[in-house]
Symmetry: C2
Subunit: 184 residues, 2 copies
């Protein structure tokens, strides 16, 4: 077997490994996610759209689709349903007339915050499964190799949106903490 053939087989082996790992990881995440959102009559795509709109402080439908890894039509149709339920509103931006934007209504924001308050009402196997690593390393794992692969597949701006949403997320947690302190 030539070196090239060997390398191609090794690459195939690697990519089959990732396929198995990724399926197992996603199925665990999916189950956790479904259990968490079940009481709120949302499916994963709907919750994901609310999540993205909240953490990006409004987003275009194409950003939602891209960052939520769903078809644009899926993002649009579920956004419509969320609008009908009064959780989301559509808008145009003056500086970008071509794209449709979505943002949470007050009711949508309240729902997202309520869901965070009840985050620990359900079991999160991913979290449970990561605690031993946290104890060992003093912090949660960062999955840097997964991040690198995703960066290469989805592009730099996917990661940029990813980091921005978590930066906002983190800040909103800190703000909430400050609010609590002031109230005290």
């Amino acid at each position: 077997m030539s070196d090239e053939t060997y390398t191609m087989k090794e690459a195939m082996l690697y990519s089959q490994r990732i396929a198995q790992l990724s399926k197992a990881l996603w199925k665990a995440v999916e189950k956790d996610w479904q259990q968490w959102i079940k009481p709120y009559d949302l499916n994963i795509n709907e919750h994901h759209i609310l999540w993205i709109s909240y953490h990006l402080k409004g987003a275009s439908i194409s950003d939602v689709a891209r960052f939520g890894v769903m078809h644009v039509s899926t993002a649009f149709n579920f956004s419509k349903k969320l609008e009908e339920r009064g959780l989301l509103k559509f808008s145009k931006r003056d500086d970008d007339k071509r794209n449709t934007y979505v943002e949470l209504t007050e009711k949508g924001t309240e729902l997202i915050l309520l869901m965070y308050d009840h985050y620990y009402d359900t079991h999160h196997s991913i979290l449970e499964g990561s605690l031993a690593l946290k104890e060992l390393y003093g912090r949660f794992p960062e999955f840097l190799d997964v991040m690198a692969v995703i960066r290469n597949i989805y592009g730099e701006d996917f990661i940029e949106i990813f980091e921005r949403s978590f930066k906002n997320f983190k800040e909103s947690l800190v703000e909430e903490a400050d609010t609590v302190s002031v109230k005290r």
Copy 2:
């Protein structure tokens, strides 16, 4: 905000990160997988059942379900369909009368091997996305933190089956190489 509350919020942030990462990774894997198997009129579950049966050299339906992360009924129903197509056969084992086992027929084995021969007919974004890491580190990434989380969620025997299937996979590639050398 108490330390405990902070830690719980940090944990929530972490688990939401993993959810996003894992969805993006799985969607890329799923697309690659679907494109690869499309010409053979199989869905991912069906191919996964053939894959597991081949690499474990026969498996019980419950092993297929567990390792393939699907419901036992899904594993059983798709196995039945594969049996009808002459790709899989059911059997009982003398040392384990309670479980139903599946193994590939000759036709099933030929199909699996044919599919490997045509692996590179389609695009594998996961592979493409990992090449830069391979160049940097001299080997493909191992996703050890993902493996650790999966081990904690699915248990040690899941990982044991995982490693056994890839050991068999690797050996079959080496055997094939030897066969080629002898033929030469």
